[in-house]
């Protein structure tokens, strides 16, 4: 294994979005047993340094690949020429069809920050948050829904797909920020928004 390998290569996987979670975990355990610094304690300083770096790479690769959304984020960064270890999330941008609602929400947030929340305003922001959370789930479902398209795509179709993923991920990132801001303004725990992450 070399340190310049991309995360898919680390796990000897094709650059596809459909990944068998159990197989990935088994492979992760195997690679960990081979490279973890615990098992190289008696080795030379150089070999120990190598084990440390490789083990760090394996851990980062597993973190990026085991979760579907992190996986597509990584793929987009990779296809856009990002270096391994640089999982850029893309600049958050509001979804175009929600622009108007977003403006209202942002105004409401500014008012709440300046003058506190009245009962009406609270109800309105709570409703917005519920709606945006639904939209957030829908964005994720839409993104995961096109994994198969990527896996079947011919070389010529990939550029457009990457651009589409990038746009949807940016919208999702924007929604996440607004939902968190709303949660904070409402003084509520954001605990209700547990998504995906692990299985």
């Amino acid at each position: 294994m070399t340190r310049d390998q991309d995360y898919f290569a680390v796990f000897e996987l094709p650059r596809k979005l459909a990944v068998d979670g159990d197989a990935l975990q088994r492979r992760f355990y195997e690679l960990s047993r081979r490279h973890h610094p615990d098992f190289h304690q008696g080795a030379s300083a150089e070999a120990q340094g190598e084990a440390l770096a490789t083990s760090a790479l394996v851990n980062r690769a597993y973190r990026a690949l085991r979760d579907p959304l992190a996986r597509v984020e990584y793929l987009v960064a990779l296809e856009s020429g990002g270096a391994p270890g640089d999982e850029s999330k893309g600049k958050p941008r509001p979804p175009m069809d929600l622009l108007e609602e977003m403006m209202e929400v942002q105004e409401g947030l500014m008012e709440a920050r300046a003058a506190g929340l009245g009962a009406d305003e609270r109800a309105r922001l709570t409703e917005s948050r519920r709606h945006l959370a639904e939209r957030y789930q829908a964005e994720e479902a839409a993104i995961v829904g096109r994994f198969g398209d990527w896996d079947r795509a011919a070389a010529g179709e990939r550029g457009a797909l990457v651009a589409w993923f990038k746009e949807r991920l940016a919208a999702r990132a924007y929604l996440r920020t607004v939902i968190d801001d709303l949660g904070e303004a409402l003084g509520e725990d954001t605990e209700t928004h547990v998504a995906h992450r692990r299985h």
Partner: protein, 607 residues
């Protein structure tokens, strides 16, 4: 490779363990005790550690340091709020806090090093071989600075610290080795001063931590403090005296509260009797009284439990087992609350005081190559980031990332000819730099170039100890950039070197001083007993006996004034022997009196 021991360096007690024949074992001291109180007394005559130091808590409260783990790797501002109940003085400092003991000051790693050295000596005596390498446990929620401080303490004590391992995960190794926990497990670890919750998946010998959370300033100490405040208020009310400024009295109250708390874990009621100079304080305490006091503290552990579950992406019903670690989990209220959060009865099959040390020994054995089918994959508890424009934190490595891990980041200059780039590295979950824990400042040396030209690639690597390593490379030249590290709350390399040297110089003298003070303390205890006995039971003495005892007592007092510890010990034994017969005679009389009074009671009853 020589033997590697596992050490649990606790807030209240510390232990050392090793693996023999595939089984982890705690190493007892000469008297068979496993727990070494994490207490260090800097007496004018020398340094005491453990039980002898505990006896100085009330006698020399300003020189006897306990719970120093709470100060490890912290800045003065971090700990200021809780210093009021420490009888010893902690001095404000820009960097590492210092504790004043008489004429000098000591740092928390130096204090901890005394505890570690005592454990090292204990292991060497027991195993009859030199011990130079150790695995030391820390709370999972310890920051980089707190881990580094623990490593420094090990070095000062003459130990190479091969691994810093998290306490709850160490506990899971001990359970896992004996196949006592499988599947998805939650380890709830409430010790003397710290709280951790870790959620792990145990499968095929791999112990994969999914998430961890906690509070490094929450534990049994805080229960005791709440009780002391309550008792002080009660004394003010009932005796019209405020004892809060009296270090000795507060220390006695603290010890009494701690003991009462422990008794209340087994029985619903207990009583306190504390003789002070002007009055004797008596108080009945019920379990409900204490529960009312500690409820907010116990509740404060539940938020981190929910956070850890959320970060692991799990719901409580997906947890197969809940394991309790740490002495404070003996408190019934703690057990009850943990049960409600996870919806299942927690268990503690392995001794909660010992299980962390046992796990450290297992990790030591893994590093030594003696166990090859187990592997611990731990996480970093706190996000790591750098300060950017406007004091905002840019996160490089998020919390609960499996370690080792790394992140790369590019930096450049903003002014023509700039030769130094400053970086401020932080740990924590807040957006603003000032709300997080400052870890270190790095100064990168670069060749003078027009602004924006240098391309410096920084690699932030968190190793298996959870400690940050940093490398920098200028990409145009391919040269390694020089890095100056200024730890915010840590000791510099030079300071640690100096302390290591000092500890070698003092090691021999310290042991001698300790033995002398132990002998003196013992002599005082025996002499005081004898004096009291003579006052009460002198009439029972036979002809010539009183003279013999008085002579032995005078001889002991004379020896006690000197520094010959063998002489003191011999004369202590001689005094004990001289009073043996009298002690028995007094015991008989007391017994007869007790029996007589009981008979009298019965006669009264039957009438």
């Amino acid at each position: 490779m020589s033997r590697i021991v596992g050490i649990d360096l606790g807030t209240t007690n510390s232990l050392v363990a090793y693996v023999e024949g595939g089984i982890p074992k705690v190493i007892p001291d000469a008297e068979g005790k496993a727990l070494l109180p994490s207490i260090v007394a800097y007496t004018p005559d020398g340094v005491l550690v453990g039980e002898p130091a505990r006896r100085q808590l009330v006698r020399q409260p300003t020189r006897t340091i306990y719970s120093v783990k709470r100060l490890m790797g912290r800045g003065y501002a971090d700990v200021e709020g809780e210093l009021t109940l420490f009888p010893f003085a902690v001095e404000p400092a820009a960097e590492v806090v210092r504790i004043r003991v008489g004429e000098r000051t000591v740092t928390p790693p130096e204090v901890s090093a005394h505890v570690l050295r005592a454990l090292k000596l204990r292991a060497e005596a027991h195993l009859d071989e030199p011990i130079e390498q150790a695995v030391i446990t820390v709370p999972a929620y310890f920051s980089d600075a707190q881990r580094q401080a623990t490593k420094d303490a090990g070095r000062i004590a003459g130990l190479e610290v091969l691994r810093i391992v998290n306490e709850p995960t160490a506990a899971s190794l001990a359970y896992g080795l004996q196949r006592l926990a499988q599947g998805t497990i939650a380890v709830y670890d409430l010790g003397g001063g710290t709280f951790d919750i870790s959620i792990l998946r145990v499968k095929d010998g791999i112990f994969e931590v999914l998430a961890t959370n906690g509070n490094t300033h929450l534990g049994g100490d805080d229960f005791d403090r709440a009780m002391v405040e309550w008792l002080l208020a009660d004394i003010r009310e009932r005796h019209g005296t405020d004892l809060s400024g009296d270090a000795e009295a507060v220390q006695e109250l603290r010890l009494a509260a701690e003991a009462a708390k422990c008794r209340l874990s087994a029985s619903p009621r207990t009583a306190l009797t504390l003789p002070f100079e002007r009055f004797t304080y008596r108080r009945d305490i019920s379990r409900e009284d204490v529960e009312a006091l500690i409820t907010p503290l116990v509740e404060a552990t539940l938020g981190p439990c929910r956070m850890a579950l959320r970060d692991a992406g799990l719901t409580p019903d997906q947890i197969d087992e809940v394991v309790l670690v740490g002495g404070s989990t003996r408190v019934p209220l703690v057990r009850a609350r943990v049960e409600t959060v996870f919806g299942r009865t927690p268990h503690s099959q392995l001794n909660p005081d010992e299980v962390v040390a046992l796990g450290a020994a297992v990790q030591a054995q893994i590093l030594a190559g003696g166990i090859t089918d187990m592997l611990l994959l731990d996480v970093t508890p706190l996000s790591l980031g750098i300060e950017t424009l406007g004091g905002i934190v840019s996160v490089l490595i998020s919390r609960n990332t499996t370690i080792p891990t790394m992140a790369k980041e590019m930096f450049t200059t903003s002014v023509d000819g700039q030769t130094v780039v400053d970086l401020h590295v932080l740990q924590g979950e807040r957006e603003l730099a000032r709300d997080n824990r400052s870890l270190a400042r790095f100064e990168l040396g670069v060749d003078p170039m027009p602004a924006g030209m240098p391309k410096i690639e920084m690699t932030f690597l968190i190793d298996a100890n959870g400690i940050l390593q940093v490398q920098a490379r200028e990409l145009r030249t391919g040269r390694e950039a020089s890095i100056q590290v200024r730890p915010t709350y840590g000791l510099t390399e030079g300071e640690v070197e100096r302390m290591v040297e000092e500890s070698f110089e003092h090691a021999e003298a310290d042991v001698g001083a300790r033995l002398l003070i132990e002998a003196q303390t013992e002599a005082d205890v025996v002499a005081n007993h004898v004096e009291r006995a003579l006052a009460q039971g002198g009439a029972l003495a036979e002809a010539g006996e009183l003279e013999r005892i008085r002579a032995a007592l005078a001889a002991l007092r004379e020896a006690r004034a000197g520094t010959d510890r063998d002489l003191i010990r011999d004369r202590t034994i001689a005094l004990n022997q001289a009073t043996e017969r009298l002690a028995e005679a007094m015991m008989d009389t007391a017994l007869k009196e007790a029996l007589a009074s009981r008979r009298a009671d019965r006669i009264l009853e039957s009438q």
